[in-house]
């Protein structure tokens, strides 16, 4: 009996010491409202918590639309968690603002990750993503056949002339309401994510990436002006609608309103289920190679975390292929590594969405890696919407350039 009492006491003490040693790590994630994503994140956390006794991750989920504002408010109130996820292009701003600290993980583990998944700013890794997203020109094989168009590849994308000829043919056929659906209804980050690659393919950019201290020449140079004229021509020429009903964006392609739609891999399965002969074409080459946007949500460690080692340990744990594959299977995004892609039916070689891996690896360009991007993105969005609605191209791009330059100056160059 005495022996039993001693054993019980030892067990209780042992349990208590383990419980005491286990530090709690708080984590914020943007997936509230997405049941599938939430389930995968919970599973990942449960696996991590069960895999060791040093750390215990506790999750707080936020709806995506409210996430960034919540983090900024949390940072102001000194209430950030240990681990948070961050949208790739926002990361430099949060690092510059002191919300994030450099991520100390074994970088050999991310050697094969897609470039867009690595959140690097000022030469340091701040965040890492388990997936990336890609955009393609969505159409149907039957459309290509009917219009007598060749099917472009990454090695031989459509040139600007070929792309416009395709739109002309679609418009002339009278079969569709509009030849092209760029996705004008998706305001916000969609504009810089989806449309700035067109500008970059023309040879311009939102900001001069060699210094990140000015937009002069990048956003209002000759290449940008040519882009602006082309962009406006899409709408004045009747190829696309400048103002779009969100319902048309969501269901227009499937309803046969558009011949070509510029859309992301997250919408690809829906298009395939509407039309089994849907094909995903690479971005057209407007002179400087085909370009698409890159960088999706990534994990990082908050600057105020008292347990950065534990937070980094969790992030490293999450980098396993099985989780990359699980997220891809669940939410349809592109797994960050080729080995994980091979585990996913949609993205493995020969899979219906495998081309997106190729596009992401070979044509993706991250949005300007600067803290000023959050402002630049909004300025760019407004400029493109104005041009689409008939504003003077040169005056609009000049004004946008001035606004971006003023913001950079106001913020002391954002540390560049």
């Amino acid at each position: 009996m005495k022996l039993f009492g001693l054993a019980a006491s030892a067990a209780i003490l042992g349990w208590a010491s383990v419980a005491q040693a286990q530090e709690t790590l708080t984590m914020w994630y943007h997936g509230a409202g997405n049941e599938v994503e939430q389930k995968i994140v919970n599973g990942l956390i449960a696996d991590f918590n069960g895999s060791q006794t040093d750390w215990k991750v506790e999750l707080q989920s936020f709806p995506q639309g409210a996430y960034n504002d919540s983090v900024v408010a949390g940072a102001l109130a000194g209430n950030l968690p240990d681990i948070l996820d961050v949208d790739g292009p926002i990361m430099p701003n949060w690092a510059w603002a002191g919300y994030l600290q450099p991520l100390k993980i074994d970088e050999s583990k991310i050697a094969t990750f897609l470039p867009g998944t690595k959140g690097i700013w000022n030469g340091q890794l701040y965040s890492i993503g388990l997936w990336d997203a890609a955009v393609a020109l969505v159409t149907r094989q039957s459309t290509l056949d009917e219009l007598g168009l060749r099917k472009p590849t990454v090695d031989q994308p459509w040139t600007k002339d070929e792309f416009m000829a395709a739109l002309d043919a679609a418009k002339a056929s009278g079969k569709w309401e509009f030849a092209f659906d760029p996705g004008m209804a998706w305001t916000g980050e969609w504009y810089p994510y989806a449309f700035s690659p067109f500008l970059q393919s023309f040879g311009g950019d939102i900001v001069d990436r060699t210094t990140y201290k000015t937009a002069e020449g990048a956003l209002n140079g000759d290449a940008a002006m040519a882009f602006g004229a082309w962009w406006q021509g899409l709408f004045t020429g009747g190829y696309a609608q400048a103002t779009q009903d969100p319902a048309d964006r969501d269901g227009g392609f499937a309803a046969g309103k558009y011949a070509f739609s510029w859309n992301g891999n997250w919408a690809a399965l829906g298009a395939l289920s509407a039309f089994p002969d849907t094909v995903f074409l690479p971005a057209p080459d407007f002179g400087n190679g085909p370009k698409i946007g890159a960088a999706s949500w990534q994990f990082g460690v908050s600057a105020t975390s008292k347990n950065p080692a534990g937070a980094a340990a969790f992030i490293e744990f999450a980098l396993q292929d099985k989780y990359l594959a699980a997220f891809s299977n669940g939410i349809g995004l592109i797994p960050a590594t080729p080995s994980a892609a091979a585990m996913v039916d949609n993205y493995k070689a020969g899979g219906p969405l495998a081309v997106f891996v190729d596009y992401s690896a070979r044509t993706a360009l991250v949005r300007p890696v600067t803290p000023g991007y959050v402002v630049q993105a909004k300025v760019f969005e407004k400029a493109l919407a104005d041009i689409a609605n008939g504003a003077d191209v040169a005056a609009t791009l000049d004004a946008a350039t001035d606004e971006i330059n003023a913001d950079i100056e106001k913020n002391g160059g954002y540390g560049h």
Partner: protein, 292 residues
């Protein structure tokens, strides 16, 4: 002559009703669209959106969107939080602001004119301009609860209630209303030896039904529609209100049917509350001269 007058009156009446019906249609149809859409699958909802079927319960009708909405988000928690925060704030606001209005109108004290002017000046300060200082303050305020003394009010009901109990507009409404009450009543009560509190409770408040209804409705709408402040101060799901909860439904591919179901569920309490108090509301608006 009498027939012409009767014809004119009939024409005027018909015109008036036609205009009223048109206005009613403009205001009611979005609500009808919302409710009808909440019973339809997404594909049908989008197809119907371009024609009159959007306003009719036709096609594949079911409660599926409601079921899915409850699966996607803790709807009951959000509704409870909003109703609780709104209800408590409205009650406390009516008590505090009516007492303030009473003091400004009936009690003679030095500086009340200046203080009332200062209070009214706060009406021109938009909440957004003070949101961040208020957040910094709220994150550092002390609180004594079951855990003893703690610091910071984030992730609580009190942080959503306390900053909104008193506001310039509500006090102003009470001041305006109280000014129109017959002063003789107050003077008579004072002569009879009634205390200020007795006058407030037994004479003024029983005469203030319309303004209480107006203030309650206006405060209810403000509180129930709160988005920015709860977004900033509630990192825990258990404290989030309905408007922040709406964001749960805007994923990459928006499930519009679920959005409509959720909106229908959170709109019904507001409509019910308004319909319940609307007669008093209209009477009070007419008597205070406040528009809009």
């Amino acid at each position: 002559m009498a027939m012409i007058a009767a014809d004119n009156r009939g024409l005027r009446l018909a015109t008036r009703y036609a205009v009223l019906v048109l206005i009613a249609v403009i205001f009611v149809f979005p609500l009808v669209f919302m409710v009808m859409s909440s019973f339809k699958p997404d594909q049908q909802l989008l197809q119907d959106a371009s024609n009159l079927r959007a306003f009719l319960p036709v096609g594949d009708i079911s409660l599926q969107n409601y079921t899915a909405a409850f699966q996607r988000a803790p709807v009951a928690t959000f509704v409870f939080n909003s109703v609780f925060v709104t209800g408590v704030t409205v009650i406390l606001s009516l008590l505090l602001c009516s007492a303030a209005g009473f003091a400004f109108v009936f009690v003679n004290w030095k500086g009340r004119g200046v203080l009332l002017s200062l209070l009214l000046a706060t009406l021109i300060v938009p909440f957004e301009t003070i949101a961040i200082p208020l957040l910094l303050l709220a994150s550092k305020l002390p609180w004594i609860g079951l855990d003893g003394l703690t610091w910071g009010w984030l992730n609580s009901y009190r942080v959503q209630i306390v900053p909104f109990i008193a506001d310039g507009l509500t006090v102003f409404l009470f001041v305006q209303y109280f000014k129109d009450l017959p002063g003789e009543l107050i003077e008579a009560a004072r002569v009879e030896g009634a205390s200020w509190f007795q006058i407030y409770r037994r004479i003024v408040m029983p005469l203030s039904g319309p303004i209480l209804a107006t203030a309650a409705i206006l405060k209810f709408l403000v509180m129930y529609n709160q988005y920015l402040w709860p977004l900033m101060v509630t990192q825990e799901e258990g404290y989030r209100p309905v408007m922040v909860g709406l964001q749960y439904f805007f994923q990459l591919n928006v499930a519009w049917g679920e959005v409509m179901a959720y909106l229908s569920m959170i709109t019904v309490p507001v409509l019910a509350f308004y319909l319940y108090l609307q007669k008093a509301f209209i009477a009070s608006i007419a008597s205070t001269g406040v528009k809009g």
